[in-house]
Symmetry: C2
Subunit: 600 residues, 2 copies
């Protein structure tokens, strides 16, 4: 490199007019005008218009014609003010041009397989295969720069709060997060396997026992699950844990963090304390434990109103212990067509809903396919309960509580979008608290809602010795942080009492030997001076997606994997040699389809 830059491509302004500068960058667009060649030269910081004028350097001007898109050049040139009327106020460097006096070609480029500036129509696989080009797109680049700033901001906040950042192992042991582990065969210990961590849960609890008091880590975590659009096999958590605290302390800490993050990164003041809603209320009002509070569309329970109805569908649901719940799409009747309303029934199919009823409150009186099945009193009570007025549309559903919640939650979201109720740059945080400690599995046995280290609320401890019903009614000291309808963090006060931990394991049917084998060191640790402690893990990828307003997790991860968990750029995972497998004492067995059939 003969010509080393004095400035980036994003910083020259009228202040530098007259200076001789050196720029390094990529060639973007290229234009000839009256014998003079104009080139957009860009780098991470921006774009500067470069002028090759044969009267200034005939040699450079001649070379300019050999330049192509994405070539890399170094130029020396004079900064000149743009002619009046030619300024570009949308561009930081829009007041000036740089007139080339010396020139060095740093590298050539083949014609890229897609236009780096316009990738929305490019096949996602093509972009992933050439990720090094995709990431040259300024939008995507800025998203990753934003992520870097966010991580820096999070760290600096936690350092100020006297947290210690501690790295925990990647080659670890299975923790019971409920998902499938990625395994790593051990060469030195044949037949044994490491597990990549689903979270640093057990390590961080161990650090609390050590007395670190305030730990955090921006940690890679791993789950070998079938991937959905917003999941990746490896993901990043802001993982933290504190000793001698209550759940309120942890929530305050996070509120401080998000106040600062929203202010510093988005220029937005959020209101703290962040509102809290109990799990029960969230399910009742929004049908979800991660409600989107950017809009109302609250759910009302109208089971009572219709408890004596003769209408068969509703009667059967209620008699079977189900519920009837409704949303009043208040004042939106004229915005919704009959087609919108008819589309609800197919829409709820994936949520196991069998149908959605509706009443349109017209000037001429209520209109509904089913209103005729209700008594006058029932109808009147329903209108009253739902505060129904002319111009409203009431939608409702009868089924098991779970199905009704799922369907109405999905319909809430659907209509919020359909009716344009969600404003961009609106950020609604909420804590969901008082989660149940257990839920019943298919056989009616208690299984943890979070994980088996979550503490029951102190005042509910006595129920641990009660009936299964008592046990299922225990509230935990757990809390989720929800932003715009996504769970972005979850945490709890943990059990620090060895006997309570043992009791939980025994309720879960984890027998002593199994507990000892799986969690032995934690059970030991709890006996050697474990302080009260609790913490939380934030899903950094998810937080970034929401703050950046993107639906694609690939926009916030430099080298994401496909839904088949492959990296199209490096072609990982790949084949390995027989020798490598032999050293690891493992064999691969593969069936072709036919063999597979034989096996069945």
């Amino acid at each position: 490199m003969r010509l080393k830059r004095t400035h980036t491509c994003g910083e020259l302004t009228a202040n530098e007019v007259g200076q001789s500068v050196v720029l390094n960058g990529w060639v973007g667009s290229y234009r000839d005008h009256g014998g003079v060649t104009f080139i957009d030269l860009f780098d991470r910081w921006g774009l500067t218009q470069i002028v090759f004028d044969p009267e200034i350097s005939a040699e450079a001007h001649k070379v300019a014609h050999t330049l192509r898109n994405q070539y890399i050049v170094a130029i020396t040139g004079e900064v000149r003010r743009r002619p009046e009327g030619m300024e570009n106020s949308n561009l930081a460097t829009g007041a000036i041009d740089v007139y080339v006096t010396d020139f060095e070609l740093l590298n050539k480029s083949k014609t890229p397989p897609f236009d780096i500036l316009h990738t929305s129509q490019v096949h996602p696989e093509t972009r992933l295969k050439h990720r090094y080009l995709d990431l040259r797109n300024p939008d995507l680049q800025q998203k990753l720069i934003f992520r870097s700033k966010a991580a820096a901001m999070i760290r600096s906040y936690l350092y100020e709060e006297e947290f210690v950042e501690i790295e925990t192992p990647i080659l670890g042991r299975s923790t019971p997060e409920g998902a499938r582990d990625y395994l790593v065969p051990s060469r030195v210990n044949p037949g044994k396997f490491y597990a990549l961590p689903q979270s640093p849960q057990l390590y961080k609890q161990s650090l609390m026992v050590s007395g670190f008091d305030r730990y955090f880590q921006i940690a890679k975590c791993f789950r070998d699950e079938d991937l959905r659009a917003d999941r990746q096999p490896e993901f990043t958590q802001v993982d933290l844990e504190m000793a001698f605290v209550t759940s309120g302390d942890i929530m305050s800490l996070l509120e401080g963090l998000f106040s600062k993050m929203m202010k510093d990164l988005k220029g937005i003041d959020i209101t703290t304390p962040i509102p809290q809603i109990t799990y029960k209320d969230a399910m009742l009002k929004y049908g979800s434990d991660a409600p989107d509070l950017r809009y109302d569309l609250e759910i009302s329970d109208i089971t009572d109103v219709l408890k004596d109805t003769d209408f068969g569908v509703f009667k059967r649901a209620i008699d079977a212990g189900g519920v009837v719940r409704a949303i009043n799409l208040k004042g939106y009747s004229s915005d919704l067509t009959r087609k919108d309303l008819d589309a609800m029934t197919p829409f709820v199919k994936p949520y196991r809903g069998k149908g959605v009823a509706w009443i349109r409150m017209n000037e001429a009186g209520p209109q509904s396919p089913i209103i005729k099945f209700f008594s006058e009193e029932e109808a009147a009570n329903l209108y009253k309960k739902m505060d129904a007025e002319v111009g409203d549309v009431i939608i409702f559903l009868a089924d098991t509580e779970k199905i009704v919640c799922n369907c109405l939650s999905a319909l809430r979201t659907h209509f919020a979008k359909r009716l344009g109720l969600i404003k961009e740059d609106q950020f609604a945080f909420t804590w969901v608290v008082d989660f149940p400690l257990f839920e019943a599995d298919d056989d009616g046995n208690p299984t943890p809602v979070h994980h088996p280290f979550t503490s029951p609320k102190a005042e509910e401890l006595y129920k641990l010795d009660g009936s299964t019903e008592d046990i299922l009614s225990i509230d935990s000291d757990a809390y989720d942080l929800v932003l715009n309808g996504s769970e972005i963090g979850g945490g709890s006060i943990r059990i620090h009492d060895h006997e309570i931990q043992n009791k939980i394991f025994s309720i879960l049917g984890i027998e002593d030997e199994e507990a000892e084998e799986k969690f032995g060191f934690l059970l030991d640790a709890l006996q050697y001076g474990a302080p009260p402690h609790g913490g939380l893990a934030l899903g950094l990828d998810r937080v970034m997606m929401i703050l950046l307003g993107t639906d694609s997790i690939r926009d916030v991860i430099a080298f994401p994997k496909t839904q088949k968990a492959t990296d199209l750029m490096t072609e990982a995972p790949g084949a390995v040699s027989e020798e490598q497998l032999e050293e690891l004492s493992i064999d691969v067995f593969l069936f072709d389809d036919e063999d597979d059939d034989d096996e069945e």
Copy 2:
């Protein structure tokens, strides 16, 4: 928790006298004096002396007697100035005591398996098994807190230099760092494997092609190697890369980083620019490419002086192309016994040295077992070359250059320690530059000294088309950062020209197809606008060890593994179920010893 702390155990001073405070912490030592009970209460921040006085709270005083070492308590109490003469100026809180008025037991502790404050004699395996207790030792805790501060400082320095922190995948593809990969079987892609990264090398080069310009990451890296005392299967690198730079730019950046780190963390001003030494000079003067410059003990080549010697051992070595080199232990004759000198020969055995000659410069004349074999002229020239004076001891060796270097380098270190030449808190940085690009493997073929992406020096490019001898003489644009005789970082300018990269692969005998399969995406990336770039990776664990003055890597890693790569606390790696293996399409094959013998 009824009593929540108002202060930590490390912060109360005479300023708080008279205040009522709440402390939470662990019970350390316990003493009774005249009916009053004294307890050291400690946490991460320090230690406060707590007094249980029956006249203040009879109830609390009674409970005090049930407390044991490592119990966790919360106390409310009044801060009182210590009686005159009882202050402890070595303790931040040594001016005060806290007299207990209220008390809450937060958790009990079994008797720890070892004394947390005195672990040097405890079996390392016991400490690792109970790592949560070992880490309660304040010294070890402070080391990890230091590490957290160092990482914070490094990040803040790099953010200020406009670096972007980008996470690269852990589930990646094998990179050619030369060590054995840890493999992760893919469930979704049966028979294929991810590799845990030995470094983010290929990803970071790809990010340079993307135009991120300045990337860094504090990255976990993995090597499945047989472990030495200072190695771990997973280790942490400060990994960085820059575009449009020369090696000098990268060195300056690192010099700025270490100036700040040494100042902020150790209060030490280092001199910059850090001195540079060429690889050739380092090998000649110190016998090592990671010389310890805290002391002199320079090596001199005396092959020329003895080139015509009749002394058989030396003659044969020289005739075979070997060298004779010597160190003058200047003025240390009276510090070294005959035993010291005789011990040199067994000492160099592990380095394949066959013997070490010596001359002691006595008042009465030179004393040496071998001086008699040299001519008078040879002896005189040797004294002159070595600047030999009365009181010196000259030690020397004849063998192949490699063996002589290894032996004299080891002897340098040995005598520096033996003679007390190394001062604690002395930090000698040096750059080692001008490494050869290739070295000859056992068959005489070129193999990379660093990795195959290292750029030759620009002025040596022409040699790539020359003979094997030419090729082996190429200098690379690589540099290592050495601190106190340890390589703490290594980097280079990378190849950004697709054709040169191909040429290097071809020299290395990596055929087109193999290059395409292994590094295809990098070769592609280099063709789509790759800027000149280079970088460096720092071994963070090593840097922490040196800055903290510890020989044990376990002192700077929270949950280290043993030399058998096991985690004694979690018992990772562990057994996994047949179902897990089946899902991954792998089998384990294990031989017992007998079978193993049969196989041989």
